[in-house]
């Protein structure tokens, strides 16, 4: 419905404007705070015009928190999670939509359940598994008495150990294993006409060929949307990287921001903290701007 009345136009623009201010104001305050020196930023109230120390603060934040390698870590993790999600979700959705096999419903629900158990809920067992990937097998051996038996017979004590702490794999894998993307793909695959599948069969394409040559190119916009969302989500992860990276070398930019936040009793360098925040905010912003066109299309429309 399209209505054109001046009053309604004004009201809708007003609502839009209020929304815009609400969304942008914190960002502006961060940017302004990042441009002041230590004295000005701690004035009450803080001056609302930009100061002159912006680049100095950025430089200080960059070196203090060692943001170069940390941003790289963050980027590797976020890109890894986004790519992993896009691939795994496409494969699982392909299996659920296009194949009829025993236990399909069970697997469908198994995947669905992961939606109800996000990482935060199962963080302790997930941590235990990542700390030693083989610990479930060790437990099985211990509980069944097999390890005791083997020790008695051969004198070898079995202690399976394969840790993923402080590795990119450990950072990325647990974040990939959820179903959000699967359902996005599933909804899209269900709209692909059956005749297309049949035409591909007549053309001699097997299942995998059909998936790669036809289904994936058709889901480009979906992949872009999912990739963008997952990149942002992974970039903003705090709890998991904090737990799994005990060593500085694998810490991510978001967790390292903590280094810049003044301690109680320390120097209140909020200008530096804000400058660091700005830096860390930038990459996701670039990704969103770059992917926006695809992103919106993938979420609202299906290309026919």
């Amino acid at each position: 419905m399209v209505e054109r009345t001046p009053i309604l136009n004004f009201v809708t623009h007003l609502v839009l404007f209020i929304g815009f201010v609400l969304a942008v104001a914190p960002f502006v305050i961060v940017a302004i705070a990042a441009s002041h020196n230590l004295k000005d930023v701690n004035d009450v109230p803080m001056p609302l015009l930009p100061g002159s120390d912006f680049w100095l603060n950025i430089k200080t934040a960059w070196t203090t928190a060692d943001l170069g390698p940390k941003l790289l870590n963050s980027f590797i993790m976020a890109a890894g999670v986004a790519a992993g999600k896009v691939i795994i979700s496409a494969l699982t959705a392909f299996s659920i939509v296009y194949f009829r096999y025993p236990g399909r419903t069970f697997i469908f629900w198994l995947i669905f359940v992961t939606l109800m158990l996000p990482l935060e809920v199962r963080i302790v067992p997930t941590y235990a598994v990542v700390a030693n990937v083989l610990s479930p097998y060790q437990t099985i051996l211990d509980v069944t008495g097999l390890s005791w038996l083997i020790e008695k017979i051969s004198g070898v004590r079995i202690a399976l150990s394969f840790g993923l702490l402080n590795s990119y794999t450990g950072l990325i894998l647990p974040l990939i294993a959820t179903a959000t993307g699967t359902f996005l793909y599933r909804q899209f695959f269900l709209t692909v006409p059956d005749e297309l599948t049949e035409a591909a069969r007549m053309d001699g394409a097997g299942a995998l060929r059909f998936f790669i040559d036809i289904l994936l190119p058709l889901s480009r916009t979906n992949m872009a949307a999912l990739g963008t969302i997952m990149f942002l989500w992974a970039w903003n992860q705090y709890l998991w990287p904090l737990l799994v990276t005990t060593d500085q070398s694998h810490a991510t930019a978001v967790t390292e921001l903590k280094q810049l936040i003044p301690n109680i009793g320390g120097i209140p360098e909020w200008n530096i903290a804000m400058a660091g925040t700005l830096i860390v905010m930038l990459p996701p912003l670039i990704v969103v701007v770059a992917m926006q066109r695809w992103f919106v299309r993938g979420l609202i429309a299906t290309e026919k």
Partner: protein, 366 residues
């Protein structure tokens, strides 16, 4: 080029059986049209030949090889779908050449064959376009090209013209016919449009309720329908049917005391029959003429070349096609003259044809 042999083929889904024991022989190079109302199992039969549906019972053989267990790609069939099913992200050339790409044909040969097919179908100027930028008729031709390029043994058409507008449909119909003459490949064409069926077919297969009602040339099927269903399904307007009982002095129409002169060969007295007469075979005469039935005109449809007159024959709807210069007005009473030699008879119980004129009407050989 290949022959197709279908032996006692059935198809059942969980609850219902949709194809009941179909037997059919399709000679090499034949253009066979399967005609029937929607839900008669014609598309299912076609898809079983293609390998897109599993065969529940019986056997389908292409060129003597039983294909029941073969994948679609191993059967040597190509199919043209109702909605064309073009890959939206590929250009026309990629669409046409996809099967060759899957088969691992080298790029140079592929391009050459795509060019050759495009030339035949006059698609050359649009090889780089995406399907979305094509008109309905052009998409249809791309779908045909995709089937042709594989040089298949058998062409399968699943109502390929039903999405086109009337004019384009007539045009594509003759193009398909010409193409068949040129390639001379065995073709099976499924449709519910009888005009399409009559004009395209070398041999016509009429199906109803999952069974084959009749197989024959379009002429045979029109002139000697094997059952009441075929008689009323093929031909427009549909054949008129009058129910009656055979008596010594003619056919007494049901619910009516009037008699109709009928040939007396082969029909047992007392049998309940359905008499069929083509609207084209009925002549309009003055009401009350000798041997004519009186009826009231309901509606007159002008066709330009002639007109269809719908009349009410004591409650029974009846249509007459006439090119005569009579202009009966609705409500007027007219006389209908029906010659005994134009009559078809069907059993009231089974609907099967009762042969009356076996001796006098020459039947074209199969």
């Amino acid at each position: 080029m290949a022959s197709i042999t279908i032996r006692d083929v059935t198809k059942s889904y969980a609850k219902s059986q949709v194809v009941h024991g179909v037997d059919l022989d399709i000679a090499s190079g034949d253009f066979v049209v399967i005609l029937g109302p929607s839900g008669c199992g014609k598309s299912t039969l076609l898809r079983m030949i293609a390998g897109l549906e599993e065969i529940s019972g019986g056997e389908i053989a292409i060129d003597g090889t039983v294909v029941n267990r073969l994948e679609p790609r191993e059967r040597g069939c190509a199919m043209v779908f109702q909605n064309y099913a073009l890959y939206p992200h590929m250009s026309v050339a990629q669409n046409i050449g996809y099967s060759l790409k899957v088969a691992g044909v080298p790029a140079a040969e592929r391009t050459q064959r795509i060019q050759a097919v495009a030339r035949i179908l006059e698609l050359e100027p649009m090889l780089d376009r995406k399907p979305a930028a094509l008109s309905g008729g052009q998409r249809q031709r791309v779908a045909m090209g995709r089937a042709m390029i594989r040089e298949p043994k058998v062409f399968l058409f699943d109502e390929p013209l039903s999405n086109l507008d009337a004019k384009l449909r007539v045009q594509m119909r003759s193009e398909i016919r010409k193409l068949h003459r040129r390639l001379n490949a065995t073709s099976v064409f499924v449709t519910h449009d009888q005009v399409e069926a009559m004009t395209l077919a070398d041999r016509l297969v009429v199906m109803n309720g999952g069974r084959v009602e009749q197989v024959g040339t379009p002429g045979e099927i029109y002139k000697r329908p094997a059952s009441r269903f075929v008689a009323t399904f093929v031909g427009a307007p549909a054949m008129n049917i009058l129910e009656g009982v055979v008596e010594l002095d003619g056919l007494s129409l049901l619910g009516d005391s009037r008699r109709l002169a009928i040939p007396r060969v082969g029909l047992p007295v007392g049998a309940k029959v359905a008499m069929g007469i083509r609207p084209e075979a009925v002549r309009l005469v003055a009401p009350g003429s000798q041997g004519a039935l009186n009826a009231t005109v309901d509606l007159v449809e002008e066709l330009g070349a002639g007109r269809v007159i719908y009349v009410d024959l004591d409650g029974a709807a009846f249509s007459v096609v006439t090119s005569e210069t009579v202009h009966p007005a609705p409500g007027e009473t007219v006389g209908l003259k029906i010659s005994p030699e134009d009559m078809h008879f069907f059993s009231s119980e089974t609907g099967a044809r009762l042969d009356v004129f076996k001796a006098s009407v020459p039947v074209p050989a199969h």
